[in-house]
Symmetry: D2
Subunit: 337 residues, 4 copies
């Protein structure tokens, strides 16, 4: 089902038929929790995708994936460096503080919600290294970022090298990881573990799944603790096979990448129409555009829905199922403003 007029969020999009079919196929009696055959095959499936041994812990929300990952990488008394506008900082209601047992998110300023080794180094330099100050223990970056930019493998690798040098864990919030990979044209490995990422929240829900995310641990030794923490957080679903089935359906035949490419393509068409209105490059499926209140009202009068993004700006998000023809009306409306 297409939704040509709605650009609120990929979060609210429909579920793709392949996932619906996979749910139907998974509807058989099996072992509970993650003892079923589908869950048990995830490590292997993702290890292939990432071209190395990984451990995968399924969960049903990005927030839990992020918070679990950071609890693995940062002790309760440590700090986690992130962007000031990171999702973990702004939109997860303190899940990181909850899961870590009181660690602190320390925000950094950076163009397009991106961090660099220099930004991180400057932030750390301001922290006197004694017991009175909370000391950083981990870094989290989002790829794509909250402003729809992609970190290229070299950019991640620079941060990865910095983290290794400083003894910091590195987490990637990949709620739109597929969109970033689709844009970059790299392998999933290049922009993650080969670049120093320890744990990835690999999002599928925004990309056509119903409620399935993969916490990918590039150090499989972290898996046991991750599975304990997932259970303790109430995220070990009884019928976990229905989550695993979604992930497998989307990994198979590259569906995850095809979906993300489609959403990116749709965004690019709108971006071309938006021209100078663009506040950030469009590298994934999010657009941030300058739009006066009057212009926003005109678009809405035309039936288009989207979020205001502060004074004089709007956010539009395309979805896995936006065909080119679906977004042309919006592109035309934007061009004619």
């Amino acid at each position: 089902m297409r939704s040509p007029m709605r650009f609120f969020s990929d979060n609210a999009a429909t579920v793709c038929p392949q996932v619906m079919d996979a749910l139907a196929r998974a509807n058989r009696v099996d072992t509970a929790y993650d003892g079923d055959a589908l869950s048990q095959s995830l490590d292997r499936a993702f290890s292939e995708l990432f071209a190395r041994e990984v451990a995968v812990v399924w969960t049903s929300t990005g927030t839990s994936a992020n918070a679990l990952a950071l609890a693995l990488l940062c002790p309760p008394f440590g700090a986690i460096l992130c962007h000031d506008e990171a999702h973990v900082m702004m939109d997860e209601c303190g899940a990181v503080e909850f899961y870590t047992g009181g660690a602190r998110l320390m925000g950094c300023v950076g163009e397009g919600a991106k961090l660099t080794p220099d930004i991180l180094a400057a932030r750390i330099a301001a922290i006197r290294p004694d017991v009175h100050r909370m000391q950083p223990r981990a870094v989290t970056i989002a790829n794509a970022t909250e402003y729809g930019l992609a970190y290229a493998p070299a950019e991640v690798a620079a941060i990865g090298a910095f983290c290794k040098e400083r003894g910091l864990g590195l987490h990637m919030d990949g709620a739109r990881f597929a969109n970033a990979v689709a844009f970059l044209g790299c392998s999933p490995a290049d922009v993650t573990w080969r670049a120093g990422v320890d744990a990835l929240s690999f999002g599928f829900t925004k990309n056509g799944a119903m409620n399935a995310e993969a916490l990918v641990l590039f150090d499989p030794a972290l898996a046991d603790e991750a599975r304990i923490r997932r259970k303790r957080a109430g995220h070990l679903l009884s019928k976990g096979r229905f989550i695993a089935a979604q992930l497998l359906a989307m990994i198979e035949d590259g569906l995850w990448l095809a979906h993300a490419s489609a959403a990116n393509d749709a965004a690019r068409i709108i971006a071309a129409a938006a021209g100078d209105r663009l506040m950030h490059e469009v590298e994934a499926n999010e657009l941030f555009i300058r739009l006066t209140a009057a212009e926003a009202a005109r678009l809405r009068a035309g039936g288009f829905d989207f979020y205001d993004w502060g004074e004089g700006a709007a956010r539009l998000v395309t979805s896995w199922n936006h065909a080119v023809s679906d977004v042309e009306p919006l592109a035309a409306a934007l061009a004619s403003l």
Copy 2:
């Protein structure tokens, strides 16, 4: 799909067709999180079922429902009285400690995993009322209990009155609430808020849903905090409509009760065959029977699966989709041991 030979757990059973259909119907674009029309209608639907205003917070696991409820009812420095073998104590990996921020579960002994005001009073009497000891602030009981017994309305009401007198919150773990109500033949209201229950974890997953539980708050004033805590715990799914849809499908036309009745009926047939082997009355869909290792081996050789339950005992659980004919082979096999 029937599973005549498997009696491990209703946790692993299939999802009923009505729920699968509801998921298909819910597969349309809508508002994310719990802003969709289905989620928004839950309060009303459950208020009807419980014959009073209630607030309902959906979640996808019983563990999260229980832990959220107890975090609402007990401060981090309080204690929660429960049965020694309560699911929250034995099988949730410290979720209650996590969600409450360090409250303590205090176990009590009681036949059939049941508590009474006398048991609670004796436990409390042993706690010197000063700041050195953790003081009870809440009680949690399971209905049906972990041994498949049902608390009748009068039994709950006695506990409810005790809790009110002592200033304790009262939570009911209703992972098999439907089975208890089906056995008792009472209204859901009679055995909950009318009996002094403050919050109910109303389970649907074991009863035919995919991954949907309802935290029912009989004091709607608790709803805001519950929703914040759910988000913070990473349990606010993006496409929440797919959880709400399951709950609504099972509430409608009394499907929840019909399913539970069927599972109870199947259990009763096996119980009749088990005779003196029964370790507890069979009031829901769980059977605990005396079974030597040799007898267990013979049943398994016959193709039946179930859990050992310590030395010389076994647990068998029937499911919503066990027809009478499905369990007759097991009944016959038991009778012929």
Copy 3:
């Protein structure tokens, strides 16, 4: 014992003779914890000082007093507004996160480490009021501030009114409360509960005690929870009478105020010599002055000790036992730079 050359911190100063005498007098057998006669008399003594009924919980560090207070005023999922350079943010290693169970400190910018209703209102306006964002539940201000400025009663009252309007608790970190009151010439009541403060960390250690702070609760209904949380945090000392004795010795005959006045006087003498070098008004016993590295080296060569405060700046702190004659050498040295 004077320390004419050391201006590192009042934190490191000696203990006054009256407190040492009080410790000797308290060295008798008595009830343990806070059951002793001295501890039991604190509520009354501080109620007199504050001209209303208050409850006082002694503790031995300012960090624990602050963290206990904020845990009383803010739930684990709430946010606490403070200044970016607040001691709770910068120098307490996440104690607030620990004690609250994961609440978040949200920093605000403000001249001289001071907040105003406008600053607070702007910070809150940026927070979308939904479950995804952490919502403020409390405000904490320091009086005197981290830059040695005093909030006048009217300034606190403006913040207090704002907090009441927004449903926020208000805590005052009074590590140098005595210095602020000595500067303001007001009654302790005027700048606390009459101005809307709910809880005050009233510092005595920097002001001549050994290890004694008073958490003053203007709502005595908070006392029970405060005492439980103190015990749970391991801050209920067995021989609590030795903490209570210090507080009583310093309250009696206004010693707390006399000490603070002396420290303030000493600071003013240095301030007069510092002239244009002052980065902030000197309203308590801290001085922040512009000082090149060469100038700092010259002072140190002259035997004076103090902290550098970033590039080209230094912090100097006077203590309760700095007589005017003690600080004249430093004043002269500064003037002659």
Copy 4:
């Protein structure tokens, strides 16, 4: 000052003159927190006492020492095996749950509050090793125990070997460690690290100090985290030299051992008079005796004070400053009952 009639608790006893003198000597300007010369010398002083390199973290309560130690040895999702009547379980208001971030204390039954490898093995055997159950990660024992019994080096070594085999950390609550060592006549090393203890809460407050305990870490690699956690818990006192001074005064010349021996001697005299009334061997400075309500009343009428210990029993505790002549009146009164 002697207290011949008071046998409530060593917790409430006076402070010895050597400690009072040490406080007076420490009353000079020095570096704040634990940067002072006294604090800095603790590692060396205790390393000598324990005949190996140790790291020592001072704190002012036994509860904080215990909770810090267990937070070092057990993750938030782990369990800690202890005796059902352990102080950490019964009298610390959930400090362990607080400091660990939600770990669970699992009580074991054992005569005289003592544990053995068999008891521990049986407790663990009941825990299914999967993510649903909290898995033990540490053991804590008290020496002397809550019933005044001492674990001999061989007994601790048996537990230590068990813990090593099972991958469990081992903590010793030594609130009355000096009394145990005085009874055993062994070296402090024999009953701690040589027997497999990882961390010791070494109590001084009950033994003549004012408010000073040493958390002794036999693996100095734990020290950094311990110091961070101490600060975060608000236990890093500004004028820490006054805590360090107490510890040093009591270590010097074996004062700690002399005090404990005196208390033990006094207890033995009373024990001899109590005869068959004794409920446990008297190996430290605590006596648990059978005493009817009428007998207790007669003793109290004679001026003696002590705690009732449930129905028909009483607890009496001697202190470091009980001379033989001080306790003879009680011994006589007991004998004449």
